[in-house]
């Protein structure tokens, strides 16, 4: 009896294995329907609220399902009116914004001035825990809805007033001539009423006003977006939809692209860059993006903040063979940096090639001398801290260290210090535990030179992780912000940038390009200056 049971079990197992093998031979379900492309994605770690999304993967989706007052031109990066009919100001502090007529959300609701004001109030309010709340920090009344400590004393921003169905006014707490240009950032997107009335429902399937609408969303796995046929804008989707598939490992996504299992990979891992020409031919794009990689320093640590330290920092900078690393490790998907901004700003926007001078050139002999003059490396060894869980950081950190070691003639002068998780990496930075330089990447929020300097180097600024502080720099930035003439403002910002240079507040490494590879089904693929694919332009078939 028992024996018989065993036999049946075994037979069943064998049959299942056979069946499984049989299924395996056929084409999998990896491909997508006609006109719909599949694209690699990372699981966004926060809910997909516009004012709560602070990383590229969530930003990708928002870029497809939302259109704001402004939109950054996918090619030039210039801020252009999208939903804004006009934004008027006479003093760079009070703005009157008129919303275009005829726009709706994909659920049919009209986009009005209230859609914006409600969304911004939601984003600024402390009780909603929105991680991008500081974007509303320029608006008057922010300190009441989002105080630095204690509980909020107001529900809404004083500076926002709806004055008509399609008009509202914004009053800032200081002059900021660049304000209209920041409005293309996702945090400033309008929100439909359903966001407030059925929040959980909205999060499960976000509704926006962009060229795509979300059809289904399986968190942590994939999202199906479909073209919204009634989209009123002129940048309608030129394909039928996009399927975003979550990958844990960029190498797997690339492998899938090669196997025809995926149409678009928008961040090719460093390890595969050598193969792209061979594997993809001209189905590979490599375009500049508003991203700069730097090494930041712990200025809260006296060892790095004494007189002479700037010589050590400059020496380290000159010990890094940027050209060789960008060629060998990154296969020219990075460009050696020679200032602290990005080429996508353009010369008029404040990018100035060579502003760094010889401090960013590879001069091993001088480097060694400078480090010695500056009193040597604090502690005898530089430990460059980075997070090992994402990106291809290990490759370049190791290469930077080897370059420094070779220049200084000491095998152990520099060593990479991987931290297991991004969360812990940020923790160690936040708690000032690091005693050496650390990886710092900056992706612009909006294409203004201000965005490359103020958040990173202004005293107490949100991303000034190394706590660098310099009165001259602060003063120049304040002056630049108050400047109503754009050219003059840019010039003043560049003066401030020179202060950064003279102190080598951070070592600029390289400007990062966006790189993407795609399948034979696709054409007209491009990346915008934020290194996000311009999905609505892609043609399938």
């Amino acid at each position: 009896m028992r024996g018989a049971r065993h036999a049946r079990w075994a037979a069943g197992a064998a049959a299942m294995a056979l069946a499984a093998t049989a299924c395996g031979g056929g084409g999998g379900s990896g491909g997508s329907a006609d006109g719909v492309l599949s694209s690699s994605w990372g699981d966004p770690q926060n809910p997909l609220e516009p004012s709560n999304t602070n990383e590229v993967q969530g930003g990708k989706v928002l870029d497809m399902i939302f259109r704001g007052l402004k939109r950054y031109n996918p090619k030039t990066g210039a801020a252009e009116n999208m939903l804004a009919e006009k934004i008027d100001t006479s003093d760079s502090q009070n703005f009157t914004i008129t919303v275009k007529d005829g726009w709706t959300f994909s659920n049919g609701e009209k986009v009005t001035a209230k859609s914006f004001v409600d969304a911004w109030n939601y984003g600024a309010s402390l009780r909603n825990n929105q991680k991008n709340a500081y974007f509303f920090g320029y608006i008057e009344g922010y300190d009441k809805v989002h105080p630095g400590g204690g509980s909020q004393t107001a529900e809404k921003l004083d500076g926002l007033k709806v004055t008509g169905d399609r008009t509202f006014t914004v009053r800032l707490n200081q002059k900021f001539s660049g304000f209209p240009d920041t409005l293309g950032y996702a945090a400033f997107a309008p929100l439909p009423q359903s966001f407030f009335t059925d929040h959980a429902g909205w999060l499960a399937k976000p509704v926006g006003n962009g060229p795509y609408a979300i059809e289904s969303y399986t968190k942590g796995s994939q999202m199906e977006l479909r073209k919204w046929d009634a989209y009123p804008g002129d940048d309608k989707a030129r394909n039928d939809g996009v399927t975003l598939k979550v990958y844990t490992d960029g190498n797997t996504a690339y492998t899938d692209l090669m196997a025809g299992n995926l149409d678009l990979v928008d961040d090719i891992p460093a390890a595969q860059l050598k193969n792209v020409k061979n594997d993809l031919g001209d189905r590979y794009i490599n375009t500049p993006a508003g991203i700069i990689q730097t090494l930041a320093f712990p200025f809260y640590d006296p060892a790095w903040n004494k007189s002479g330290s700037e010589k050590v920092r400059k020496g380290l900078s000159m010990a890094i063979n940027r050209a060789q690393i960008t060629d060998t490790i990154f296969q020219k998907t990075r460009t050696p940096a020679s200032d602290w901004t990005s080429p996508v700003l353009g010369v008029a926007g404040g990018f100035k090639e060579g502003l760094c001078g010889d401090g960013c050139e590879y001069k091993p002999a001088e480097a060694k001398k400078l480090v010695q003059e500056g009193g040597g490396i604090p502690g005898g060894q530089v430990r460059i801290t980075y997070n090992a869980d994402t990106g291809s950081h290990r490759e370049w950190i190791d290469a930077v260290c080897n370059s420094i070691n070779n220049a200084l003639g000491n095998d152990k002068a520099c060593v990479g210090n991987p931290v297991g998780t991004f969360a812990d990496f940020r923790n160690q930075i936040g708690q000032h535990k690091l005693t050496g330089p650390f990886r710092a990447g900056w992706q612009m929020d909006y294409p203004l030179i201000q965005n490359f300097l103020q958040p990173l180097y202004y005293t107490g600024a949100s991303s000034n992780d190394g706590k660098w502080s310099n009165k001259d720099f602060d003063r120049l930035v304040d002056r630049a912000n108050a400047e109503t003439d754009t050219a003059k403002a840019v010039q003043t910002f560049q003066e401030a940038e020179k202060v950064v240079r003279d102190n080598m507040a951070a070592i600029p490494l390289w400007y990062q390009n966006g790189s993407a590879g795609y399948s034979q089904r696709l054409s007209n693929v491009a990346l915008n200056p934020f290194s996000v694919p311009v999905y609505n332009e892609i043609k399938v078939g």
Partner: protein, 323 residues
């Protein structure tokens, strides 16, 4: 008699690998008639001399011992067979193939793969040996005490063993090691000991329970020997055989585990030079520079293999049933 069933279970979190060694070793302790053998001349020989007699003639044992001896020697004196420094890397030589001075070629960073493979032996052997020592000592002591004293002690210790057994090892490694800032080998070893001891503890416990019932132990007790004397003089020598077998095999798996942890980004940190670090660094470049992956992986596989075969040979020698 649930106790017996406890002894038979070989559950684990070690990726499944090591418990079979445990199960295989279980058969040892149940050998009827105890561990005494009889020599050809009728003169009684101990289990150990009997085993040694066998081992000396076993080619598997000889080969694996030689491999291990070689590893130990180059771990202690790597400069015997290589002159370079494992930290001397030039990006200009990135991914170049075999050439004079670098028989295994260069890896993605332009480091000499041969030199790094030689120097990697030290780290890997250190991790394996230290982790095994720690696990064996902690596991035998706790398992032995539980088995010898029984009762409440046994229940409590057994439940604690279960607790640590229930945590999947790779998962525990990710959690515990992700916050480590030290770049020495000790956190990795400490973690292996912390989550590895239950495996040995179970074997030791079962083995002590079996030995405890032997006549000579009863006799010693009747003669008034102290607990510590009975444990050390009478039980330990006979209970230790299965522990050694499992420990030898486990040593190989710890070396392999170090590589897996490196692959997940929580293993050893530079400037440590280890096979795990090199394998995980080379694995994304498998299509362009397979040699950088092949050599450290090969070295690792041979080492693990040597320890497993050694454990196998020792087990066969200790198990009279398989003669």
């Amino acid at each position: 008699m649930p106790e017996q069933s406890d002894g038979v279970i070989a559950g684990t979190g070690m990726g499944g690998g090591m418990d079979l060694a445990a199960s295989e070793a279980e058969t040892l302790e149940k050998v009827p008639g105890g561990p005494l053998g009889t020599g050809p001349a009728g003169k009684p020989r101990s289990l150990w001399s009997d085993a040694w007699h066998d081992l000396r003639r076993n080619p598997v044992f000889l080969v694996s011992s030689l491999v291990i001896l070689f590893l130990v020697v180059i771990s202690l004196w790597p400069s015997l067979i290589t002159s370079g420094s494992p930290l001397q890397c030039e990006l200009a030589k990135s991914q170049q193939g075999s050439q004079p001075g670098a028989p295994f070629g260069y890896d993605g960073q332009g480091c000499n793969v041969y030199t790094r493979t030689v120097y990697g032996a030290r780290t890997s052997v250190t991790v394996g040996v230290c982790a095994t020592l720690g696990v064996t000592i902690l596991g035998s002591v706790l398992g032995g005490l539980a088995g010898y004293y029984g009762g409440v002690w046994d229940s409590v210790l057994s439940r604690i063993t279960d607790v640590f057994f229930a945590i999947p090892v790779v998962l525990g490694g990710l959690v515990l090691l992700s916050v480590v800032t030290s770049n020495t080998v000790w956190p990795v070893i400490g973690f292996m000991v912390l989550l590895g001891w239950p495996q040995i503890s179970r074997i030791a416990r079962g083995s002590v329970i079996t030995s405890k019932q032997n006549d000579y132990v009863q006799a010693a007790r009747a003669l008034g020997a102290s607990d510590s004397r009975i444990l050390l003089r009478h039980i330990a020598p006979n209970a230790v055989a299965p522990v050694i077998v499992v420990a030898t095999i486990a040593l190989g798996t710890y070396i392999s585990l170090e590589a897996t942890l490196s692959y997940l980004g929580v293993g050893l940190k530079p400037p440590s030079v280890s096979w795990g670090i090199d394998i995980s660094a080379a694995s994304p470049y498998i299509r362009n520079a397979p040699h950088a992956l092949l050599w450290p992986s090969g070295a690792l596989a041979i080492t693990v293999l040597a320890f497993i075969m050694l454990g196998d040979a020792v087990r066969d020698a200790l198990d009279p049933k398989l003669r």
